[in-house]
C-alpha cells in the first residue's frame, strides 16, 4: 500500500479536529484582553448622527423581535441603542413581534433604564407583543391607543404619561428595528411616510440591506455584534460588543487561514501526484 502524502492526510483531516480547533480559538479569544480600535463604517456613523440629532423629549419606537437564539448579535445592539437614546433624554416605546422577544426586551429595558433614572410609563413604555406586524404597523400609523390598547403591564395606553401629545406613529421621529428576521420589509412598506428607519440586523441580513441604505429607505445600520462594538466605541462605553469582538475577529482570521491552507494542500497534492 502506498503511503499517503502529508498533503493528502491534511486534506482528509478528521472534522472533529477542526471543530476542536474552532472551539479552542473562541474560548481563548473570549478570555483575551486586547482591544483594537475600530474604523467606524459610514452606516454606523450615520446611525449615531441620526440619534445625536434628536431633541430631548422626541419619540422613538424600538421594534425588538429578537430572543435568546440570536442574543449574541442583537443584545449588544439593543443595549447600545437604548443607552444612547437615554443619554439624549429621548422618550421611547418598545414593541415586539414575537412573544419571547417581548419578555427578554422588557426585562433588559427595565434593568438598563434604572441606571438612567428612566421611569416606566413616564419616560418609556413597552407595548408588549403584537402577533401580526402588518396590523400593528398599519394600526399604529392611525391611532396607537386603538391599535395597542394596553402596555405590557396591562396599563391602558391612554393613561401613560410617556404618550402625552402622541397619537400615532406620525408623531414619532424614528423607528429602530432590532431584528433577526424579516420585519424590515413591513416597516418599510407600512410605516407613515415620514418615519425614519434605523436598522440593527443580525450580520446574515446585513449585505442585503445595503441597497436600502443606498436608497435611503433606511438611514443607518449596526451590523450584528461587530457593529455594536463600533457603536460602543462611539459612545465610549464597554458592553457585550466589546466582549465579543476579539472572538469574532480571531474566528474570521482562523477561517481565512484554513481556506488558504485547504487550497494550498490541494495544490501541493496535485503537484506531487502529477510528478
Amino acid at each position: 500500500m502506498e503511503a499517503r502524502s502529508i498533503w493528502e492526510r491534511m486534506m482528509q483531516i478528521d472534522r472533529r479536529i477542526l471543530y476542536a480547533i474552532l472551539a479552542v480559538n473562541i474560548v481563548a479569544a473570549l478570555m483575551a484582553r486586547v482591544a483594537i480600535e475600530p474604523d467606524i463604517p459610514p452606516p454606523v456613523k450615520r446611525f449615531y448622527d441620526t440619534i445625536e440629532a434628536l431633541q430631548p423629549g422626541d419619540m422613538v419606537m424600538v421594534s425588538s423581535t429578537w430572543s435568546a437564539g440570536t442574543l449574541a448579535e442583537n443584545q449588544p445592539q439593543f443595549e447600545a441603542v437604548l443607552k444612547h437614546l437615554m443619554r439624549k433624554r429621548v422618550r421611547f416605546t418598545i414593541i415586539s413581534f414575537a412573544p419571547p422577544a417581548r419578555d427578554i426586551s422588557h426585562r433588559l429595558a427595565r434593568r438598563l433604564t434604572e441606571d438612567f433614572g428612566y421611569v416606566e410609563g413616564k419616560d418609556w413604555a413597552h407595548f408588549g407583543y403584537a402577533p401580526d406586524i402588518i396590523i400593528a404597523v398599519k394600526g399604529m400609523s392611525e391611532d396607537i391607543v386603538q391599535a395597542i390598547r394596553q402596555d405590557v403591564r396591562r396599563v391602558p395606553i391612554a393613561e401613560l404619561e410617556v404618550m402625552k401629545g402622541v397619537k400615532s406613529l406620525k408623531d414619532y421621529k424614528l423607528v429602530v428595528d432590532v431584528t433577526p428576521s424579516d420585519t424590515l420589509t413591513y416597516w418599510i412598506s407600512y410605516r407613515p411616510p415620514n418615519l425614519k428607519i434605523l436598522y440593527c440586523p443580525t450580520s446574515v441580513m446585513a449585505a442585503e440591506a445595503y441597497t436600502f441604505l443606498d436608497s435611503g429607505q433606511i438611514l443607518g445600520m449596526i451590523t450584528g455584534a461587530k457593529g455594536a462594538y463600533e457603536y460602543e466605541r462611539l459612545l465610549g462605553i464597554v458592553g457585550l460588543g466589546t466582549r465579543f469582538i476579539n472572538a469574532i475577529q480571531f474566528s474570521h482570521a482562523l477561517i481565512i487561514v484554513f481556506i488558504l491552507l485547504g487550497n494550498f494542500a490541494m495544490f501541493m497534492q496535485r503537484r506531487t501526484s502529477a510528478s
Binding site: 480600535e37 419571547p100 445595503y210 469582538i245 482562523l254
Partner: protein
Amino acid sequence: MLFDTTQLVVALLWIAGAFALAIALIPLLGTLPPRGRFALISFVTFIAGLFFAAEFFLPVGEDNKNILTDPFQKMQGSLQVITALSLGLGTYGLVRMHLRNAIQRRPQWGYSLVLLVAFVVMAFFSVWNTMAEKGLFGLKRTPLLENAFTLLFDYTLIQLDATMFSLIAFYIFSAAYRAFRIRSIEASILMFTAMLVMIGIVPLGKLISDSIGLPAVQTAEMRTNPFMLENILYNLRLPQIASWIQETLNAPVQRAIEFGVGIGALAMAIRLWLSLERGIN
C-alpha cells in the same frame, strides 16, 4: 354585569350558529362536480385577493383612507386566525405520527414518547401562561407556572434553540476548509471577496493596514484631489476596501437581485391570484 352576560351569550350563539352553518354546508359542497370545485376555489382565491388589492388601488379621501381601509385591519386579523389554525394542522400531523410510532412500538419509539411528553407538558404551561396574561377564565400567574415556564422555556427550549443555531458555525468552518476550493473564476471571485470583507469589517483589518503604514484619515485635500498618492494609499486600507465592496459593489448587485425577485414575486402573485399556476390548484 348583566349586560355583559347577555352579550356573551349572544356571541356564543352566533358562533354556534356559524359552526352549524359550516357543518351543514359540507354535504352540499360534496355534491359539487370537479369543475365546480375548481371554480369555487378560484373564486374564493380571487375575492380574497381583490379585497387587499382594492384597498391599495382605490382613491383615498382627505384622511388618507378609502372605504376598505377600516375593514382592512379585521380582514388581516382573520388571515392571522386562519394561519393560526393551520399551525394546529401541523401540530396535529406531528403528534399523530409520533403517537402512531409509540403505540405500534416502532423502532426508536422511545424517542417519540419523549417528544410527546415534552409536547404535552409545554403545551399545558404555554396555554396556561397565555390565558393568565389575558386573565381568561380567572387564571392567574402562580409561582408554579412562573417556575415551570422559566425552566421549560428560558432554560430548555431557548437554550436548545440557540445551540441548534450555533451548530452551523462548526459546519461553516469545516466546509470552508474542505469544500471551498479555487475551482472556477466564479468561486475564486466569491472567495476572494468574502475574505476581503471578513478581514476588512473587523478591527484586525484596521490593525493590519495601520501596521503597514497606510494613512489613517482622509483629509479634505485628499477628497478634492482623488489622484493624490496619499488618497490612493488611504483607499487601499482594508476597512476602506471592505466598505467600498459592500456599499458600491454589493449594493447594486443586491438591488438587481431585489428587482428580479420583486418582479418575479409580483408575477407569481398574479398567477396565483387568478389560479393560473398549474400543479398547485
